[in-house]
């Protein structure tokens, strides 16, 4: 979308770029580390480049790496990626009124390119969906400028990471940096006591059920955590949204 001249010509495109720029450094560094982690986990350079260019979702990429390495079946990897990405499903419900005036291919391209930070900045800047055609065009330009910066920072630094990874010895164990990033993401998701519990239950279950074939321990872990939390909600009358900060 950022190749479109009519979108780039709008002042909101530049404002979107400017608002995202301070965050780009962090996104770029995370991309760099993801690039290194992919190659260090025995993916070929072609695979790592394809994953960077196509998947464009850091946490699902990082979650897929150990599963690919362990030879998990495709459906387990895809199901895990889907669960890790579930927050985007919530975002898409929020973004729907902002995008529905566009043809399907256009709103899906915007959707694909809108990651966490762009969603957050865009909905902060525009608390209300557009009412007039001028507002529609302004909002589209802002969103595009915003994710243009994210996309460039992420792609450039990820590919740099892929290129540099082969110069770093395997035994340094830098792939562990990917796990540490996921630690941060898990902590950022665990915003309520029940969610902390869900994470702990899932972690313990995944370890206990590790011997299951096909990496099914991940699927079992998600299922056990979700069902136990449902049961706890019901048993103790807890409200899952009460302490939510979203």
């Amino acid at each position: 979308m950022f190749l479109s001249q009519s979108i780039r010509g709008r002042p909101e495109f530049r404002i979107g770029m400017r608002d995202m720029s301070p965050v780009a450094l962090g996104i770029g560094a995370w991309g760099l580390m993801t690039g290194v982690a992919m190659v260090k986990s025995n993916m070929s350079v072609l695979e790592a480049v394809a994953m960077t260019l196509l998947v464009y979702a850091g946490s699902s990429q990082l979650a897929a790496i150990p599963l690919l390495f362990a030879g998990a079946p495709a459906w387990v990897i895809l199901a895990t990626g889907f669960c890790v990405n579930l927050r985007f499903v919530v975002f898409s419900l929020h973004l729907r009124p902002y995008l529905m005036h566009m043809p399907r291919w256009r709103r899906m391209l915007h959707g694909y390119l809108t990651a966490d930070m762009s969603y957050a900045l865009f909905t902060k800047k525009y608390p209300k969906p557009p009412l007039t055609i001028a507002e529609q065009e302004a909002q589209e330009a802002y969103l595009t400028g915003n994710y243009f910066v994210t996309w460039c920072a992420w792609m450039g630094m990820s590919l740099l990471g892929v290129a540099l990874a082969n110069f770093i010895p395997q035994k340094w164990g830098l792939g562990f940096a990917g796990v540490l990033s996921l630690v941060a993401i898990v902590c950022s998701m665990a915003t309520t006591r029940l969610r902390v519990l869900a994470g702990l239950i899932a972690g313990a279950t995944a370890v206990a059920a590790y011997a299951l074939p096909l990496k099914l321990n991940i699927v079992v872990a998600i299922g056990v955590a979700v069902l136990l939390c449902f049961w706890l909600e019901k048993q103790f009358g807890l409200d899952p949204t009460a302490e939510d900060d979203k």
């Binding site: 025995n42 695979e47 699902s60 979650a63 669960c83 540490l180 909600e233």
Partner: protein, 112 residues
């Protein structure tokens, strides 16, 4: 590196890209408005954190499919320090750097 490219892995990568498109566009793919069943809404509260925790826990406390029996493992301390950093300062990058600052000396220096 001796890693080779295989078609199966590339196929999974394409599948993951489709998962990205599906999840990011979930509610505006179709023209008519619709919602999720109640149970799915409730599962959204827990599934993402559970999925990630399920992936990382074995990466931190297991070696070759067995629970580690020693405390001389750099990953344990790196993960604890990383999580502590996150609650102190927030930020993925800082968490990763703080964890690696603990991991690398223990792993390379002491061989943990």
């Amino acid at each position: 590196m001796s890693a080779t490219t295989d078609w199966w892995t590339l196929g999974v990568i394409v599948g993951l890209a489709l998962v990205t498109v599906l999840t990011r566009c979930f509610f505006f793919i179709l023209d008519r408005p619709w919602g999720l069943p109640d149970w799915a809404h409730r599962a959204l509260h827990y599934a993402p954190a559970a999925a990630l925790a399920g992936v990382i826990a074995p990466e931190i406390v297991m070696t070759q499919g067995h629970l580690i029996t020693t405390l001389h493992d750099a990953r344990l301390y790196a993960a604890v320090v990383g999580a502590a950093y996150f609650y102190w300062r927030r930020g993925v990058l800082g968490t990763m750097l703080a964890g690696m600052a603990v991991y690398l000396p223990l792993h390379l220096g002491l061989g943990w």
